[in-house]
């Protein structure tokens, strides 16, 4: 996975690529308009771009209120995932038996559709915030913990030998070598975890809620208010981008010293 996407993203950097993005988006909007005019598509199937923009502006207070809810759930789930996965990954790397017990189970759970248990959380915890936060947490937890474990393990053995030859204690090796080494991996997990916790919050809101952007999507969908649906989708596009960029920005501030950071660019796959 580490190699995947590097060559693509390295092409997607720079100002000329921003221009290409603008051209592509412009073309996209033109095709959008063209389809509507040529096939005379009604607004409830595919609204015109200007209708969507008007919807965003006029419904701004509504959108903001629901965005606030989704954002709260996403961030709480995300931070819960960090708080849980850091101690777990340290325990896994520190004690062999813990590793041998937990890691196979986590590897197994990796390919399991975790969204499937989401309704269970709604049965157990009702329609409030709690199930959404827990689903966000569940989705964000795995990338963070597994990346963190990998990072603490993928230490060049010369570094550990050096530390040992300087008679560093196991604890010192951990704090001075393993933890710093894990940071770039950790941030990779965080980036993916952030996107997945947003996905989790929205999916949970699909299933049963009274507020949030996922609720708003279902609300608009049932009433065939497609302009509102598109408005929410655009808000989500921006929200995802901003959340991702914030984590990226923190990463740049925190581990800019790391050589991995300079050469590694990854495309994150989310749903």
């Amino acid at each position: 996975m580490k190699r995947i996407g590097r060559s693509i993203l390295s092409n997607a950097a720079g100002i000329s690529n921003f221009l290409y993005l603008l051209i592509a988006l412009l073309g996209f909007v033109l095709v959008w308009y063209g389809t509507i005019y040529l096939l005379s598509v009604p607004n409830f199937l595919l609204p015109k771009p200007d209708v969507v923009i008007r919807e965003i502006i006029f419904r701004a207070p509504l959108l903001c209120r629901h965005m606030q809810v989704t954002l709260n759930e996403t961030l709480l789930g995300f931070f819960l995932a960090i708080v849980v996965s850091v101690p777990v990954s340290v325990a896994v790397v520190w004690w062999k038996p813990v590793e041998k017990t937990l890691v196979p189970i986590m590897v197994f759970l990796q390919t399991v559709p975790k969204i499937a248990v989401a309704p269970l959380f709604i049965v157990w915890f009702g329609f409030g915030y709690v199930p959404k936060i827990l689903i966000s947490f569940l989705l964000a937890y795995f990338p963070i913990v597994i990346e963190m474990i990998t990072g603490m393990r993928d230490v060049p053995f010369e570094m550990l030998d050096l530390a040992k030859s300087m008679s560093a204690t196991a604890f010192q090796q951990f704090v001075k070598i393993r933890i710093p080494n894990s940071l770039p991996y950790f941030f990779n997990g965080l980036k993916l975890g952030m996107l997945l916790s947003l996905t989790g919050a929205i999916t949970a809101e699909f299933m049963g809620s009274t507020e949030g952007l996922g609720y708003l999507i279902m609300y608009a969908n049932v009433r065939l208010n497609t302009p509102l649906l598109f408005a929410v989708l655009i808000i989500l596009l921006i929200l995802g981008k901003v959340a991702y960029s914030v984590v990226e920005w923190v990463e740049r501030a925190a581990v800019s010293w790391h050589v991995v950071f300079r050469e590694r660019e990854k495309v994150q796959f989310t749903v």
């Binding site: 996975m1 190699r3 995947i4 996407g5 060559s7 693509i8 092409n11 997607a12 690529n17 921003f18 290409y20 993005l21 592509a24 988006l25 996209f28 409830f44 199937l45 041998k100 017990t101 937990l102 890691v103 196979p104 189970i105 590897v107 990796q110 390919t111 399991v112 559709p113 975790k114 969204i115 309704p119 269970l120 709604i122 157990w124 597994i146 990998t150 393990r153 996107l195 947003l198 996905t199 989790g200 929205i202 699909f206 299933m207 952007l213 996922g214 999507i217 279902m218 608009a220 969908n221 065939l224 497609t226 649906l229 989708l233 596009l237 959340a243 495309v267 796959f269 989310t270 749903v271």
Partner: protein
């Protein structure tokens, strides 16, 4: 990367630990239900759950068939589309420059959010679920395939050029074989994600399928049925993944990656 999964291929006696872990978990589950007197409609004991899974097989089977059908249709659609698309993108640079930034932008958005829209457009039948599966599976497959077509040792290209191979020949004999391991990585991720897409599509609106069954069980507070469906989904997810791995091992047995392990798959 390999270090996380290396246990799987490790010594036989290490298998005792996860077995102990799972047994401990089941024991805790059972004890918690018995000690706190949790009613069956909130959390059934493990053995009740297992018994109900087998009793529910009759309901599960036709619904599982629908979900599997949607998943495979979406996945195959995604594979064929992304192979064609990635060949076009790698062959013509300007198209790549136009399309890639948009795809990178879409990578960071929650793509399941458009699922309800597909239901408005394509109704409540199989079609919207297949399209949602396709839509989720398409991205990991196409991005991996493009990377595979591109990440080539320059010596290989130089060699084929020095043998005066045409562009088409270079493509068929060098680039395409090189992309296959990447393609399979994408398809493995895509397979899981396609299953997710089918379930989510069924959540939003359907009259059959495991996702529909989950919603139905949820609305009627039938936690035992819910657990049965979750078990079925775990098994189906594992089966799809194993089938893809099997095909990979047979198709590109010559490649290092076919020896297994190493990849990480984070999905929802």
């Amino acid at each position: 990367m390999a270090s996380v999964t290396e246990n799987k291929r490790g010594k036989k006696k290490d298998a005792i630990y996860p077995i102990l872990g799972v047994t401990g978990l089941l024991a805790c589950w059972h004890l918690a239900v018995v000690l706190f007197a949790i009613p069956e409609y909130v959390l059934p004991t493990p053995h009740v759950t297992a018994i109900h899974f087998f009793q529910n097989l009759g309901i599960l089977y036709p619904n599982a068939l629908a979900t599997v059908y949607e998943t495979f249709a979406g996945l195959l659609l995604a594979i064929s589309f992304s192979i064609v698309f990635s060949v076009i993108v790698v062959w013509f640079r300007p198209i790549e420059k136009l399309v890639m930034p948009v795809m990178v932008l879409l990578q960071t958005t929650p793509k399941i959010a458009v699922a309800p829209l597909f239901l408005v457009w394509f109704g409540l039948g199989f079609l919207p679920k297949i399209i949602i599966s396709f839509w989720l599976a398409y991205f990991p497959i196409v991005v991996n395939m493009i990377t595979g077509l591109r990440d080539i040792h320059p010596e290989m290209i130089d060699l084929s050029r020095s043998m005066s191979a045409s562009k088409l020949q270079t493509f068929l004999k060098v680039r395409f074989p090189n992309s296959l391991p990447y393609l399979f990585t994408g398809v493995k991720l895509g397979g899981i994600v396609a299953l997710l897409g089918a379930i989510l599509g069924e959540y939003v609106g359907a009259d059959k399928g495991l996702g529909y069954l989950i919603m139905w069980a949820n609305n009627s507070y039938d936690v035992k049925l819910l657990f049965s469906v979750v078990i079925a989904l775990v098994l189906i997810g594992k089966a799809i993944f194993s089938i893809i791995v099997l095909i990979e091992k047979h198709t590109i047995s010559w490649h290092v990656s076919a020896r297994g392990g190493g990849e990480k798959f984070f999905t929802a």
